[in-house]
């Protein structure tokens, strides 16, 4: 049942629908909360931990994308602690895989790069892990480059929830997780992939890209996924 609640985000009083998450309410009111794994229209998983916010009365942090608003909730999104943690998360993203902006198709139009600029990251203070990663070029149209993957699972959710093809999935555990096609077979041999390209649009970095694109020419439109889901809801 829908109810209206009063919440305070960074001292701003907001009347909000109790069905909504903190992130949705904040975005509707032009309060910026950084995210990576969130894409409007897809189910939220709370995996990137960038959207952590402080709630008054609790020493814990909460992920804004998976926490629903409640009456008299007092939310802080921009404390020094939050900013520090956002920066560490960003640095860990860069240190985890092999993000070499200079040779990437997404250079200049990359959500991860923009995130770095937003948190003011000049250099990565942590040692890089430098894992050996595969590049799957077997698909006639697209490429999957594990080096640039941040494991946000947006491609997986787009494939399952929007296209309904269930081509992508996650394999392994810990720092060794990999996004796989079908049962870890080459993407080109997939029996489920419809080559619709929705995963490409959902991908925030240069991990998924079309072969027709050269370095620095990527132009992605993740909002297309959002738009599509909104239209479906309206039965257009």
């Amino acid at each position: 049942m829908m109810a209206l609640v009063t919440i305070y985000i960074d001292d701003k009083k907001i009347i909000a629908n109790s069905e909504k998450t903190i992130l949705e309410v904040a975005r509707e009111n032009n309060i910026e909360i950084l995210t990576m794994c969130h894409l409007k229209g897809l189910t939220d998983v709370g995996a990137c931990r960038l959207c952590m916010v402080e709630l008054e009365g609790s020493p814990k942090l909460f992920s804004a994308c998976t926490t629903k608003v409640a009456e008299n909730m007092i939310v802080t999104t921009n404390s020094e602690r939050i900013k520090r943690y956002q920066r560490i998360t960003t640095e860990l993203f860069f240190a985890e895989r092999n993000h070499i902006c200079a040779v990437c198709v997404s250079n200049g139009a990359c959500e991860l790069q923009n995130l770095g600029y937003k948190v003011g990251m000049e250099a990565i203070r942590y040692p890089h892990l430098f894992p050996q990663c595969d590049v799957d070029t077997s698909h006639p149209l697209y490429v999957m480059d594990q080096n640039r993957c941040i494991s946000c699972s947006r491609c997986i959710r787009a494939c399952a929830e929007v296209e309904g093809a269930y081509n992508w999935d996650m394999m392994g555990r810990g720092y060794q997780i990999r996004v796989i096609s079908d049962f870890n077979t080459p993407w080109g041999e997939s029996t489920t992939c419809t080559s619709c390209g929705k995963c490409l649009q959902a991908c925030p970095t240069g991990a998924l890209w079309a072969k027709s694109i050269v370095q620095g020419q990527q132009d992605k439109h993740p909002e297309f996924i959002t738009d599509l889901m909104e239209r479906r809801k309206m039965k257009l």
Binding site: N98, I100, C101, A102, Q113, F130, Q132, G216
Partner: protein
Amino acid sequence: MNKKKLATVWLGGCSGCHMSLLDIDERILDVAKLADIVKSPVVDGKDFPEVDIALVEGSVTSDEHLAELLHIRKNTKTLIAFGDCAAMTNVTGMRNYFDLKDVFETSYVNSISNDQEGEVPDNPYLLRLHDKVLPLQECVPVDFVIPGCPPNADTIFYVLFEFLNDRTPNLSEAKKLKYG
């Protein structure tokens, strides 16, 4: 006002950052008013002298680079990591995903142009490569970082000019952050 001493150093990089430094064009005259470039790949100079500002391009790939960097750190007031290689290893670090032995064999033995006659050179006078390429801040404390591959000439000039006028630049506030 005393002129500051400026040095630029080229470690494991492609020299692209130095090219970008030259792209500050006539603004180099503004820099020259405030500083003398005492050591640089484009200036003749023997030993690394004591300087106020050092722009260090490239990452640390061998024991020679490390020794040089430690020497620079001792003799420099403000050490600036110059470019993506110095800041986060970038392209130079792409050999880090493999064993050093494999890297050597691929380039000296197995590459097609070697006609299967190549061998890994083993001369004591050659550089001794480290297992992993490291960014500068893994080896010594770094005072400032200019990312970018290469950094924009505008960004370089902005940072130099601020430091030469005894101010601390802020790339984030100046909206001049750029990787790649």
